[in-house]
């Protein structure tokens, strides 16, 4: 006798419940109070329909009136045992296909493609289930079985416990993903009554629903090492031939699948991608396809990274220990909470003098950055010390004296070009003012402070008249840059300085004189990046060459293979200290906080570069084979959101590891041959700023 039948026809607008599980939750955020309880159900919309037409639905409790809730709860218990359904069919309202406001979803069982189960275990309190449809691009939410709240599961577990042998194989469930009974196994058992369910041999706890032969090839390849079944191989080949471009789209839909398999990625830290995806990508047909279409490899690499990012995002950072592999030497790096106004003020006594050492302040900021979200003046105030505009050992009264002298000297410097009409007529000045005005008008115009007000009377505020800067804040940027252009005559203004000035200005903008001096101090550090002969940048690239070769040797070999060891793809992040690399300015500023401390090194930017490369190395090695592909991939990272703490933790670990390598090399006490540490690498351990000044401007040389 079939397990559940109904001779009566299903009333219109209703469905017949075949399976209900209560206390199934969605976890839309990490916070428990946002969890959404509901009922998972399988129901029959009509008496004569096929199994493919059965509905798999999630109905939030909040969508049901009390009597409906009662019906679902009763069904939860009564449908659980097969014998219980003799009492007759249970009908409920047809579930909503989807409802944006309530998280309900419902789909025909026939469109279900793949189910991944993660039973509860020590680090996963509630078991979860990931449902994937092949054609539906919408991502179905992950469902969590709160078994401790679900009466039917409690009932099943107590039944099992009565046997005094929870690990007995006596359970009649077809699929077991865990030794202990949990809601997910029961769900799989129910699905298997209405659909062909096959376990993937490639990926743990993954089940294919009504698999096709191509699916079988992808997820259940023969394990014997025998040659692939010709039929299935041909099927796949045909599909690929027929689809061409569409294959790439298939990858994209698979990414929906992969993004949700967080636990897998976390469990198997060394592998960025779930196995079926990996296998698919390694197929020669796919490989040649990637070669056929320009940009396909970059696309694949970006996609692979998005999966990794997703895994990191969904995973609780506090429990995720980065790369605790053997080669990590037990080095621990942590981030602390950002420095707030309250904490910053507590560093000072009543006279405004530091009561702790500046080293301690640097350490706090190095490990936590600055939280200026509440008090926007805080960052500027701290930077004034980090950049040594204000000496660390001053009192508030002393600083106000310093401030007055800064104000006076700024006005004097500004007057030097403002009031010198002869100077203003020189070719050099004209060249520079033109360059500055051009760049000021395209400096961070996405930021509120620099946005153009709405044009009035059809007149655009920021028009095409280059030298006419009318926006009040842009005008100040222009004046500061022109004053710097005079202050440092040999160097003058160079493109990119505007990018460095803009955050400094934002941090202090109502104090123009201080902004100028803070920028000038910042430029002391950055001058080497802007030299006419580019020597400072070239030296950093040379050092990075050695550093990457030492710390990421395999990746370095790959760069050589790609002819990318010129490292030009790192130029932008080096020139303006990651200003262009992140979608959010706050992320950039957090990095600047850290670099400004010079806590470990005055060249810490190179370790942040190294951390970014380390994070992406496996993906770049797997997918990218040309230097221009690497450039594009790295450039386009700027369009993503980044996990800054992750990058900073990696950077610190890399630094500490590097430092240990140097110490060991210096001691030379091992038996193997130790490397000799080049002066370039040794410089990385220094905290003093490397000052590299521009030489006097040769006769007739303009600003270019």
């Amino acid at each position: 006798m079939p397990p559940i039948t109904s001779r009566q026809s299903v009333p219109s607008g209703k469905v017949e419940l075949l399976y209900v599980k209560s206390k199934v939750y969605l976890h839309p955020t990490k916070r428990a109070q946002d969890n959404i309880p509901g009922y998972l159900s399988i129901s029959r919309p009509s008496t004569n329909g096929t199994n493919d037409e059965l509905l798999l639905s999630f109905t939030p409790e909040s969508m049901l009136v009390p009597s409906e809730k009662e019906t679902f709860s009763q069904a939860d218990l009564s449908l659980q045992t097969l014998s219980a359904n003799v009492s007759g069919a249970i009908y409920v309202r047809t579930p909503l296909v989807s409802c944006l406001s309530s998280y309900a979803f419902s789909l025909p069982l026939g469109s279900l493609y793949l189910v991944q189960a993660r039973p509860p275990r020590l680090n996963l309190w509630y078991g979860l289930m990931v449902l994937n449809t092949l054609h539906n691009v919408d991502k179905l939410p992950v469902i969590f079985f709160h078994d401790d709240e679900s009466p039917s599961t409690q009932q099943a577990q107590s039944r099992q416990n009565k046997k005094f042998d929870p690990f007995a194989s006596g359970s009649n469930l077809k699929f077991r993903t865990s030794d202990l009974p949990w809601g997910g196994d029961e769900f799989l058992d129910v699905v298997s009554r209405y659909a062909v369910l096959e376990k993937s041999t490639l990926e743990r706890s993954t089940f294919l629903v009504n698999p096709s032969s191509a699916d079988r090839l992808n997820f259940m390849p023969p394990t014997s090492g025998a040659s692939l079944n010709k039929d299935t191989a041909n099927t796949l080949g045909k599909t690929l031939n027929g689809m061409k471009w569409k294959v790439l789209e298939t990858f994209a839909s698979l990414s929906t699948l992969a993004k949700t398999t967080v636990t897998d990625i976390v469990d198997e830290r060394n592998s960025a991608l779930p196995l079926p995806v990996k296998h698919m990508l390694k197929k020669p047909e796919v490989a040649s396809l990637a070669n056929d279409f320009d940009g396909a490899r970059i696309y694949l690499a970006k996609w692979a990274m998005s999966i990794q990012e997703e895994a990191l995002k969904l995973n609780d950072q506090s429990t995720f220990i980065l790369g605790d592999g053997e080669d990590d030497w037990g080095i621990v790096a942590t981030r602390r909470k950002p420095v707030t106004r309250v904490e910053w003020d507590s560093f000072f006594d009543s006279s405004g003098r530091l009561r702790i050492t500046d080293h301690e302040v640097r350490e706090a900021i190095f490990h936590g950055s600055i939280d200026a979200s509440v008090d926007q003046a805080l960052r500027g105030e701290i930077w004034l010390f980090l950049l040594e505009v204000y000496p660390w050992d001053t009192s508030l009264a002393e600083r106000s004296v310093v401030l007055e002298s800064y104000k006076t000297s700024y006005q004097e410097l500004k007057a030097k070009w403002e009031q010198d009409e002869v100077k203003q007529e020189t070719d050099l000045f004209k060249d520079q003012i033109f360059r500055i005005c051009k760049d000021v008008k395209r400096t961070d115009r996405n930021l509120v402070l620099f946005q153009s007000p709405k044009p009035e009377n059809g007149e655009e505020f920021d028009d095409d008249d280059v030298l006419n800067v009318r926006h009040p804040h842009l005008l100040r940027l222009k004046n500061i840059l022109l004053t710097y252009n005079e202050y440092n005559l040999n160097l003058g203004y160079v493109q990119g300085m505007n990018d460095l000035l803009s955050p400094v200005y934002l941090a202090l903008y109502d104090l123009v004189a201080l902004t100028f001096w803070m920028f000038a101090k910042y430029m002391d550090i950055m001058e080497r990046n802007f030299l006419r002969d580019q020597l400072g940048i070239k030296q950093q690239i040379e050092t990075l060459n050695e550093l990457i070769n030492l710390m990421l040797p395999q990746f370095y070999q790959h760069l050589i293979k790609c002819n990318a060891n010129h490292l030009f793809f790192l130029f932008r992040m080096l020139l303006v200290w990651f200003k262009r690399e992140f979608l959010l300015l706050d992320d950039v500023l957090s990095l600047w906080d850290v670099m400004f401390t010079r806590f470990y090194s005055s060249l810490y930017q190179l370790f942040i570069v190294l951390a970014l490369l380390q994070k992406h190395e496996s993906i770049m090695m797997d997918y990218l084979t040309e230097d221009y592909e690497i450039l594009k991939y790295v450039n386009d990272l700027a369009m993503n959101e980044h996990d800054i703490d992750d990058i900073l933790i990696r950077a610190e670990k890399l630094f500490l590891k590097f430092r240990r390598v140097v110490y060991q090399a210096d001691r030379g006490d091992g038996k193997q041959e130790f490397l000799t540490v080049s002066p370039n690498l040794r410089n990385l351990l220094k905290r003093t700023i490397i000052l590299q000044k521009e030489v006097p401007r040769p006769e007739g040389v303009l600003g270019g």
């Binding site: 008249d465 030009f568 020139l575």
Partner: protein, 206 residues
Amino acid sequence: MSSRKKTLLKVIILGDSGVGKTSLMQQFVNKKFSHQYKATIGADFLTKELPIDDKTVTMQIWDTAGQERFQSLGVAFYRGADCCILVYDVNNAKSFESLLAWKDEFLIQANVSLPETFPFIVIGNKIDIDENKRVVSYKKAAQVCQQLGNVPYFETSAKDGINVEEAFDVVSRNALQQEEANDEFNDDYNDAINIHLDGEAGNCTC
């Protein structure tokens, strides 16, 4: 050459800072213009598939930084270019005067095998700006382009999308011609080596 081989055309855009190189590329590839472009740092490229007669080619368009000192580091990417677009701003005389310097700079950096026949194109951009601010006349520009070696000349507005398609159409055709010529050149070159290796190596008189 196998028919499967894709045709990839590499195009480099050069010109003074702020003449609209990024805007031209964006207008051609993405049909959009933004007031929020930033000065380009380093280099970047966009690709676009486009039909030329019965062929489909992929054009890889390289956008560069305008300040001269930043040119030297990115040269690795100029190698193998099939066409070079020199851009100036019709409202800025200096950017027009720089054209020749950019052309020479390119020929040196890109290591072009036959500089005399290498395809350049000159674009005078920003024709949307008030006519009385214009400082370089069409006549003057066309004349100079002729002196540069009969270089095709277009006037565009990347902002309003005027003439951009037309300019890039010529870019793509000339680049394709160059690419095919390069292929032939390389084939001949390879053949020459093969003959040499297969033949009487001992007779070498050098």
